[in-house]
């Protein structure tokens, strides 16, 4: 027995062992040296969780009622209608939770919009790279124009989606089909409708994607 074994301390303290508590220590000791007991969840977990549930209420499960004779046709109709209504009302809330980010990218405004700032959370998923933009100060895109996200640089840019910000500053979720390890920069341009599919020279926001696991 190790001289610093808590069992020795416990017995030496005069507390005795009325309920086999030193045996109980063996159970505790067997687990306290495991990494999993001391591992801390990364802070991004709670951020992603709160973003996933933000502003909504969970779907309500009806309470059980006493049994009685029922009209199954009517119930089926009501359930069908309820399902449609719930899907319409809670559709955005009932999807899968947002991924835990692998990296947070700091975004800064360019000369066109120097007061802009924001960040992008990114993560590789089974269907591509998930990118969640949070930007403050980005005005609504004027009618006839829109914002477009890109990865890469002006000469080799891959579009990751478009948005307009005309109804507030909700986070924007974009997707990339190319690896952000291979395209390690992100920028946002203001595009005019009908002016082609290449990035315009009106870059409003940009940032370098760093900290991704190269493995």
């Amino acid at each position: 027995m190790n001289p610093e074994d808590p069992r020795i301390e416990y017995l030496a303290s005069g507390s005795g062992d009325p309920a086999g508590e030193t045996d109980h220590l063996d159970l505790i000791r067997g687990l306290l040296d495991q990494e999993s007991i001391w591992a801390e969840p990364p802070p991004e977990v709670v951020d992603a969780l709160m973003a996933s549930i933000g502003g909504g209420e969970p779907p309500q499960v009806p309470a059980a009622k006493p049994r009685r004779r029922v009209n199954w046709t009517a119930i089926a109709a009501v359930l069908g209608l309820t399902a449609v209504l719930v899907a319409m009302l809670l559709g955005p809330l009932s999807g899968t939770p947002q991924p835990v980010p692998e990296a947070i990218v700091a975004l800064t405004g360019t000369e066109l919009a120097p007061t802009l700032e924001g960040r992008a959370a990114v993560r590789s998923t089974g269907s591509g790279w998930w990118i969640r933009l949070e930007v403050t100060g980005l005005p609504p895109a004027p009618e006839g124009s829109y914002y477009q996200g890109w990865v890469g640089d002006q000469s080799d840019a891959v579009s990751i989606g478009t948005f307009h910000m005309r109804d507030g500053e909700d986070p924007v979720v974009l997707w990339s089909g190319v690896s952000l390890i291979d395209y390690p920069s992100l920028f946002v341009t203001l595009q005019e409708e009908g002016k082609g599919t290449q990035p315009s020279d009106r870059v409003v926001l940009s940032g370098a994607i760093e900290g991704l696991d190269q493995g």
Partner: protein
């Protein structure tokens, strides 16, 4: 946990979900690490667990302890992730696919981590240094800049507290 928090959790209150996470995020992550053995997967499992808990909040009975309810969701989530990963990377050893390592001690890990999180900070750090970092009391005293006697008394109090908090685990 505070009954009011549990009532608010039941109706999906965000602050209550955060309070539940603050209390059980560590135990859920520990359980997930024990089953999945990977920080990234455990982080996903932890987030999914609390998201599922939030979605099922209206089925939770505030009269009952919330710990076992969260534990059941976390365990199932980790098993599902383990199985989906096993399908992606088929193993010749079917036992490994079906039974995640660490599943047998999942409840104990969840409860021990819960108990550790309830220790005062000064006792918790002594327990961590003693067990996980395998330091002697003299080394801990040097590291913390306190007398060896203080380390011994904190260690003794911490272990007494852990025994009290975990007595029910052995009984189950």
């Amino acid at each position: 946990m505070d009954r009011e928090v549990l009532e608010r959790f039941r109706i999906g209150d965000e602050a209550a979900v955060k309070a539940i996470y603050d209390r059980f995020g560590g135990p859920v992550f520990a359980l997930s690490m024990n089953i999945l053995g990977d920080h990234g997967l455990a982080a996903d499992a932890t987030q999914q667990t609390f998201f599922k808990a939030w979605r099922a909040a209206s089925t939770y009975d505030p009269e009952r302890s919330i710990g076992p309810w969260i534990y059941a969701i976390a365990r199932r989530t980790a098993i599902d992730i383990h199985r989906s990963r096993a399908r992606i990377t088929p193993s010749e050893d079917l036992d490994v696919v079906m039974l995640p390592p660490g599943l047998e001690t999942a409840w104990e890990v969840f409860e021990v981590r819960s108990a550790v999180d309830q220790l005062p900070d000064d006792e918790r750090i002594v327990v961590r240094m003693s067990h996980f970092e395998d330091l002697t009391h003299v080394e801990i005293a040097e590291r913390l800049g306190v007398p060896v006697g203080t380390v011994k008394s904190r260690s003794h109090r911490a272990h007494q507290r852990l025994i009290g908090l975990l007595r029910h685990v052995e009984e189950t």
